[in-house]
Amino acid sequence: MDFLFSYLALAAIYVMLGLSTNLLVGIVGIFSVSQAAVFGVGAYVVAHFLMAAEPLSFLPALAIAMVCCVSLNILVTLPSLRVSGDYFVVTSFGIQLLATAVFTNWTAGTGGANGLPGIPPPDVFGYELSSTFQLMALCLCGLLLACGCFWLIMRAPFGRLLRAIREDELAVAAAGKNVLRAKVSAAALAGAFAGMAGGMYATFLSFIDPSSFDLDASILLLTMVVVGGARTLAGSIVGPFLLLAMPQALSMLDIPTTIAAAARQLIYGVLLITFMLFRPQGLLGERL
């Protein structure tokens, strides 16, 4: 039973990340491979405040992490989006590599390659959540919050503006809308989702290390959105649930453990290519 609960909790966390990636890649149409970096910042910030000499409780720490991630995403997207979409590719690769370097080398703050063990379980309004079931419930609450947020935004005028930008940026600009501001706001929102996911991930696993937040993780997030389907809520939910089940399915095949990680990433790559060639809208999405 605990196994199912932890699968659900992880899937819930990845759905939040999927929504975050979907906002950037699917809805605004910016290619991003740095979502895992933002996710990592959220996780490390929460871990830092929970393990500080005078620990904060979980919700304020999560709020701080979300603010950090939002500001990071604004800082990152602002200069490059001003120029051209392709330059953002460089920015996002750069941020991802830089974040991995910080997570691995800044030993004092992040524990370096060994990671940070012993992150205390979250407490909500004085209650300490320690069983897997309670943690799963917390993650599912986060999931509902994120999904509700996403759904509301997509119905709001702001959501329509974002969709319009993806269809025809020039026309939107000609209609007097501020394209850059809308894009940066979407990126900020994506940062908030990723920060929340990061905080929950850190407390759920009680251990974080740089390998969860590297380029491969970003590629996994992109694959989730591509497989599930871009631009829809359903797509961002289906993708993570399917892809998180895949390593389990793979472990039934007889693959030597030394190449298991490479084999998994290889499959993500093949999925990306196949879906782009034959079904760019994914399983339940709209055309990219």
Partner: protein, 287 residues
């Protein structure tokens, strides 16, 4: 003395990066595709050469075979993937994601076949060193400078004085017009990606001679090269090459004050500065 040594190291790295930047710039300026998978082609070159050298092939044969294999790989990527995507009217974003997919596939095939650990070339002459007083330059470093400068000169000559080179520049400047005048842009795209992939095989083989091979080691050079391309001005071959050398030299000199593991930060800092103050690059063609 340390300063001079770092300067020389920077020039060596910069020349190799310059070739990566030039080849990437050829593809980007012509096909308008941000060919992320180029990092995979770069990695592949080194591993093919390593495998052949391990099987007892002469060094020069290994290099030539790697170049040929990379050209073929590039042509396949363009012909089977990018051309198909273009036929389906895929958006820019879709092409980018597919390219990232190719990168993941190449890197992980390499990692699965050759293990993810660092491999060293078993080439005896690679150990030899030219030294002036305290400054040491290895043979592969000398070779890297010579070959890179030759490759840069070759690309310049090719682009300006050969029929195919002129055809490529025509397609780059206006694919539609080139199509009407029977320059066949789609064929040209295959040629360009194949040629650029062949060129990137040179640093792909020469750099690992000195530093060893790693399956995921192609991304940082490609990122630095794209930054150099943007800072030099998209479409300017000389700009891309010169800025690569400048960035690599700066990176190496920064080792005096900042530890090496943060060099990606320096590169990225340069990029942000350019984004803020000169987003069109130093040598951008007039528009």
């Amino acid at each position: 003395m340390l300063l001079l040594q770092l300067l020389i190291n920077g020039i060596v790295t910069g020349c190799a990066l310059g070739v990566v930047a030039v080849s990437f710039s050829l593809i980007y300026a012509t096909t308008k595709i941000f060919h992320v998978a180029h990092a995979g082609v770069y990695t592949m070159a080194g591993y093919i050469a390593w495998w052949l050298v391990g099987r007892g092939a002469p060094d020069i044969v290994a290099l030539l075979a790697a170049i040929a294999a990379c050209a073929l790989l590039g042509a396949l990527i363009q012909g089977l993937l990018y051309a198909q995507l273009a036929k389906r009217r895929a958006t820019h974003l879709v092409v980018l994601i597919a390219s990232l997919g190719v990168l993941a596939v190449i890197q992980n095939i390499v990692a699965a076949v050759f293990t993810p650990n660092i491999l060293q070339f078993a080439v005896p002459w690679a150990e030899r060193v030219v030294s002036f007083e305290t400054i040491r330059i290895t043979y592969p470093q000398v070779l890297t400078i010579v070959v890179s400068l030759a490759a840069y000169g070759g690309v310049m000559w090719f682009a300006h004085y050969t029929i195919l080179g002129k055809r490529i520049r025509a397609v780059a400047s206006n694919p539609f017009l080139a199509g009407i005048t029977r320059l066949q842009p789609n064929t040209v795209y295959v040629y360009v990606v194949a040629i650029a992939s062949a060129i990137v095989a040179l640093p792909g083989v020469l750099v690992p001679l000195d530093l060893g091979l790693q399956p995921y080691g192609g991304i940082t050079p490609l990122l630095t090269a794209t930054i150099a391309m943007i800072a030099g001005g998209v479409g300017s071959i000389s700009g891309a090459f010169m800025l690569s050398v400048a960035i690599a030299v700066l990176q190496n000199l920064s080792l005096l004050v900042i530890p090496g593991e943060w060099s990606i930060g320096i590169t990225f800092f340069i990029f942000v500065i350019f984004m803020l103050f000169r987003p069109t690059g130093l040598f951008a063609a007039a528009r």
